[in-house]
């Protein structure tokens, strides 16, 4: 999952960095229209559900939350994942069909956050379970 050697950034930097305007990024996300999986375990799921609400509606970006992993493109892992929940999450990820994207949102998902010490059942970092495309640090709520 995680490479041991650092990726060489000299030649491939042009493939990793895109410069654009916010308008273009917004239009690109509209035409891509990713359908996220309605997945959440904990508090950050409420923030994800708020995106569906009227203030930050993500329907006008074409994002329709789907419950079934077969119909979803994107899984937004936003919360603490415990060891009991981890097999379910991996199974959901495997059931999603290609192309699929994973966003790890929030400190709990990226490293375990404040549960990484003294908690005997938290998975410290979702990148132990699946490949992550985007890491969003800090805390959603």
């Amino acid at each position: 999952m995680n490479l041991i050697e650092f990726p060489s950034v000299d030649k491939t930097i042009t493939n990793l960095v895109i410069s654009t305007t916010l308008n273009d990024l917004s239009n690109w996300s509209r035409l891509s229209s990713l359908w996220p999986l309605l997945y959440g375990t904990n508090c950050c799921f409420i923030e994800f559900a708020l995106l569906i609400g009227s203030r930050f509606e993500f329907d006008h970006y074409g994002l329709v939350p789907r419950s079934s992993p077969r119909q979803a493109d994107l899984i937004l892992i936003a919360d603490t994942i415990t060891m009991k929940m981890a097999p379910s999450l991996v199974r959901l990820y495997k059931q999603m069909s290609e192309p699929k994207y994973v966003i790890a949102m929030g400190a709990f998902a990226i490293t375990g956050g404040m549960f990484s010490t003294n908690s005997y059942s938290t998975v410290c970092g979702v990148d132990k379970l699946s490949l992550i495309d985007v890491y969003l640090p800090s805390y959603p709520t």
Binding site: G40, T41, N42, A49, S67, M85, S119, S121, Y139
Partner: protein
């Protein structure tokens, strides 16, 4: 009453930890005979993070960010009880203004919790529109919280002896505006939902709990009050300054899901009344008992000596819990939230036992769904109002 079985073997369906409703990671293994439910077994633990064990290694101030992750819809209550426990243990007085601010925040949090109960409850029944309405109102409450505390949901606002910071200038007027707006919002919900025949067909007579039964199972909160028992800890314990306001306990007699719905809508209205009275009557004065900051420290510690002056950062004073045990409780929107605290003459508690209302209220689910159809499971589960963060801790 046994349901006559039509076939020899029953179908076992797993409503897995990931499901379309927003209750969280609760797994139900349902034994069905056609459409009738024979038995239902909830499986918990998908969100167990070891909150009580973590508490044994954190001081109270360090533990405050963790407590908002129990019941993440009504976060002020978890913080309130985390600071109430040491306050009552060490007999710390809270200034009047801090008490009023706490009551306002708690009642706003109660409204927020009931709103976010209502959305998924209606979405499970099949009505998607109230989901959007409640998020509109909840955003307004989030704005108020963000202005006062800095965070939308996980506030970390309460401190031992008061609150962390005073209300900003103009907050009270904004909050009064919100109260006026919200009363029209409740009227809208009444028009849309309460007399809707489809809604009534689905919730009336579903999941009936009698009064005696409710006490025997140890239920609390709206589940108890909807079964005819007028038990509200705000009237009974008289904590903070609830006895200075004029409000009534909301209760119903029937004990079905409709009664629980009506109790919660009524509670939202009473909360607005309390908030308006508190905002109009809020006194001036300090917002935190700053005396508490001068904690008992060893007077002649050698670390404060001349030789150790420039060595390193001195550890900050911490609140020491004496060797006593104590149970405190608040009336959370889901029920009675309680903490049993055993102190140990150190800054870390010896035992921090959480009594979550959702966990106790969830016990009645297998009994309630036994004679119902499959579609009623979601109605009953929704009306119990659980949140997995506190059920699993």
């Amino acid at each position: 009453m046994t349901v006559p079985a039509t076939k020899k073997d029953f179908m076992i369906v797993n409503m897995g930890p990931h499901h379309p409703s927003m209750h969280g990671v609760l797994r139900l293994i349902v034994t069905l005979d056609g459409e009738d439910v024979i038995d239902c077994e909830p499986i918990l633990g998908y969100l167990h993070r070891g909150m009580e064990k973590i508490a044994e290694n954190r001081t109270i101030i360090q533990y405050l960010p963790y407590v908002t992750r129990w019941d993440y819809l009504a976060t002020m209550f978890t913080e309130a009880i985390t600071v109430n426990a040491p306050e009552q243990l060490e007999n710390v007085q809270v200034p009047k203004r801090a008490s009023y601010i706490r009551v306002i925040m708690l009642e706003l949090s109660r409204i927020a919790s009931h709103l976010l109960w209502l959305g998924p409850f209606m979405a499970d029944i099949g009505a998607q529109t109230p989901f959007f309405y409640i998020f509109r109102e909840r955003e307004l409450i989030y704005d108020l919280f963000e202005a006062a505390t800095g965070m939308r949901m996980m506030h970390n606002y309460f401190r031992i002896g008061g609150v962390a910071a005073d209300l900003p200038y103009g907050w009270i007027d904004k909050c009064l505006d919100f109260c006026d707006y919200f009363l029209t919002g409740i009227v809208e919900y009444q028009k849309l939902i309460t007399r809707n025949p489809i809604f009534l067909e689905r919730v009336e007579g579903v999941g009936i709990i009698g009064g005696e039964e409710a006490i025997n199972w140890g239920l609390s909160g709206p589940m108890l009050r909807a079964s005819g028992i007028q038990w509200d800890l705000r009237k009974i314990d008289n904590y903070e300054c609830y006895n200075e306001f004029d409000w009534e306990v909301q209760w119903q007699k029937e004990g079905d899901s409709l009664a629980r719905y009506l109790v919660r809508i009524g509670e939202m209205r009473e909360s607005i009344k309390i908030i308006q009275q508190a905002l109009e009557g809020i006194p001036g004065g300090p917002y935190e008992n700053l005396e508490v900051r001068r904690f008992d420290r060893a007077k002649n510690s050698e670390w404060n000596d001349f030789e150790y002056r420039f060595i390193s950062k001195k550890p900050s004073p911490n609140f020491e819990l004496s060797k006593q045990e104590l149970y405190v409780r608040v009336e959370a929107p889901k029920g009675e939230l309680g903490i049993y605290l055993i102190g140990d003459n150190s800054v870390f508690p010896w035992r921090w036992k959480i009594r979550p209302p959702g966990f106790i209220n969830l016990q009645i689910l297998p009994q309630l769904v036994k004679r119902m159809k499959l579609a009623d499971i979601m109605t009953i589960l929704g009306s119990i109002d659980i949140i997995m963060g506190e059920v699993d801790r």
